[in-house]
């Protein structure tokens, strides 16, 4: 459902890193392959868009006056254990891992995109406006995050959420969405697009009256938050969720109202019982990691996720390999009930 951007190539190089690190970076780039938002190519020269440097080199380059060349590589410091991350710039911390490098590259893509963007129109409406993203760089979960932030503020006032050409009305304290007509798939796709501008404006009471008079009925906003998580990128966790954290569900999602896949039920059952990392959940539920990301992100946007920093690895060992190693108490019972009543997993 995300807007698919044609990937263009960006260059990356290293400055001042030792040979081992340089080789490691190039091999990680190969591992990441096509997994980044933009395509990245390793270059041997300073024509690259980005240079990974030691912290010292980065500072030295930053002091240099801009030269005549149209392109100066953006320096990304590579930090050792005890080095602090300079403010305002992304950094890569050793030891290098593919996931971190991939995230960094996507972050840099956004920064470069911002730099390239011309129009910066922060046209807040008079009165109050917030969470306005007038630029349109790629930002995964843009809409979902804006919406969940709005809900978090628990204001009793009506808010108008303008996402691209789609207009929604939200009463945060009631977790309510006021719609005069159901959102069609096209509108939903626009709203959930990672480049769609989101503007939020507080409205006055007369607007609420007008909406109710025009037939708008309040409904719970959870389904929309859920979709924003489920239909977002499936290769990463929602910003703010730790990649190496373990996740538990506060309670079961209301599958009676939320769009679901059959695999969500087992994942929910596992997460309500015990915290799992992404990998452990994928293993225990026999689901692809992409589905696990989508499920956890959807739950998180609906405020159902509790993050626990890594628990004892013994717990993880309990879940790992279960699918192959034990005979279940219920045998094939559920499978035969499902087959008799023709539902669920085939």
């Amino acid at each position: 459902m995300n807007a698919v951007a044609a990937k263009h190539a960006l260059g990356i190089t290293t400055v001042g890193l030792d040979l081992r690190d340089e080789l490691l970076i190039t091999s990680l780039l190969r591992v990441i392959g096509d997994g980044t938002r933009d395509r990245w190519e390793y270059r041997d020269d300073l024509q690259a868009d980005v240079a990974l440097c030691t912290a010292q080199t980065a500072s030295a380059l930053a002091l240099r006056k801009p030269d005549e060349r149209s392109r100066t590589p953006r320096c990304i410091p590579v930090l050792r254990e005890d080095e602090q991350q300079p403010a305002g710039t992304p950094a890569l911390r050793a030891p290098f891992r593919a996931m971190e490098l991939r995230k960094l590259l996507d972050e840099v893509s956004s920064l470069l995109m911002t730099r390239r963007s011309l129009a910066v129109a922060t046209t807040n409406a008079p009165g109050e406006a917030s969470a306005v993203n007038s630029l349109q760089p790629f930002k995964p979960f843009r809409f979902g995050l804006a919406l969940s932030k709005l809900i978090e503020r628990a204001s009793r006032d009506l808010h108008r959420v303008e996402v691209g050409s789609v207009i929604l009305h939200v009463i945060p304290a009631a977790r309510a969405l006021l719609l005069t007509e159901p959102l069609d798939d096209e509108s939903l796709a626009i709203a959930l697009g990672p480049r769609t501008d989101v503007r939020i404006r507080q409205m006055d009471d007369s607007e609420t009256q007008r909406l109710i008079a025009s037939g708008a009925k309040p409904q719970t906003i959870d389904w929309l938050l859920w979709r924003a998580g489920l239909d977002g990128p499936t290769d990463q966790l929602l910003p703010g969720l730790p990649d190496h954290g373990e996740f538990a569900l506060r309670r079961w999602p209301d599958f009676g109202r939320l769009k679901h896949k059959q695999s969500h039920f087992l994942m929910a059952g596992l997460l309500t019982r015990m915290a799992h990392s992404v990998d452990a959940l994928a293993l225990a539920s026999s689901q692809p990691v992409a589905d696990v990301y989508a499920f956890i992100n959807a739950c998180a946007l609906c405020d159902l996720i509790e993050v626990r920093q890594e628990e004892k690895s013994a717990l993880r060992d309990t879940t790992s390999g279960q699918n192959t190693s034990h005979t279940p108490r219920y045998g094939g019972l559920f499978q035969s009930i499902r087959s008799a009543l023709r539902f669920g997993r085939s």
């Binding site: 309670r251 019982r273 015990m274 225990a284 279940p328 219920y330 019972l333 009930i337 499902r338």
Partner: protein, 190 residues
């Protein structure tokens, strides 16, 4: 090997849809024990289940899934115990249009406490569209207070797919509990 039998219980207040839910999935015409409802002040329904509803599903290999609906009113709670004995799981249906749906749920969770604590209960809230209060959050708060983490879903059991959804989630919950709590356990004795 002789065929095995499994029992599922549909519990819940009068009018919550237990009879309807069983009829939606039973392969036989459900056995009913409806009698005239003389308590019109508390419920408008013309009839009420006095003993139980009963339906069946034949499983591959000849095993049977037996579906039992309990009478809703608390004066029949002796039937809840009788029917709940040896049950695989319980589906609790709550009618949100009743005067105190939270108290209703509390009563059923107490009656089926052992089953619910063993992660073998699922809760379906009906008529939530027209009666949004209490919210699902309130029901979850109640289950937490009782020490249970059961799935709670908004459902309309007149729709067969909603009944199947309840069953599917019940079974997945049991499978999840099985995966976490009893890795390496043997086959279920029957």
């Amino acid at each position: 090997m002789s065929p095995k039998e499994y029992k599922l219980i549909f519990a819940g207040s009068m009018g919550a849809g237990k009879t309807t839910a069983i009829a939606a999935i039973s392969e036989i015409a459900p056995v009913r024990t409806d009698v005239e409802n003389t308590d019109r002040a508390n419920h408008q329904k013309a009839t009420t289940t006095a003993a139980m509803d009963y339906g069946e599903v034949t499983l591959p290999g000849g095993d049977k899934l037996r579906l039992y609906g309990t009478p809703g009113q608390t004066r029949f709670d002796f039937m809840w115990k009788i029917l709940g004995n040896g049950a695989l799981g319980v589906i609790i249906l709550v009618d949100n249009s009743r005067p105190d749906p939270l108290a209703d749920l509390r009563g059923y969770l107490q009656a089926f406490h052992e089953i619910a604590q063993d992660s073998r209960a699922v809760i379906g809230i009906g008529r939530g569209e027209s009666h949004p209060s209490p919210t699902l959050d309130a029901f979850h708060a109640l289950t937490r207070e009782i020490g249970i983490c059961a799935p709670i879903l908004s459902v309309d059991v007149r729709r067969r797919e909603d009944v199947l959804l309840l069953l599917d989630i019940l079974f997945n919950q049991m499978e999840a509990a099985e995966l976490i709590d009893r890795p390496g356990s043997g086959a279920r004795p029957q």
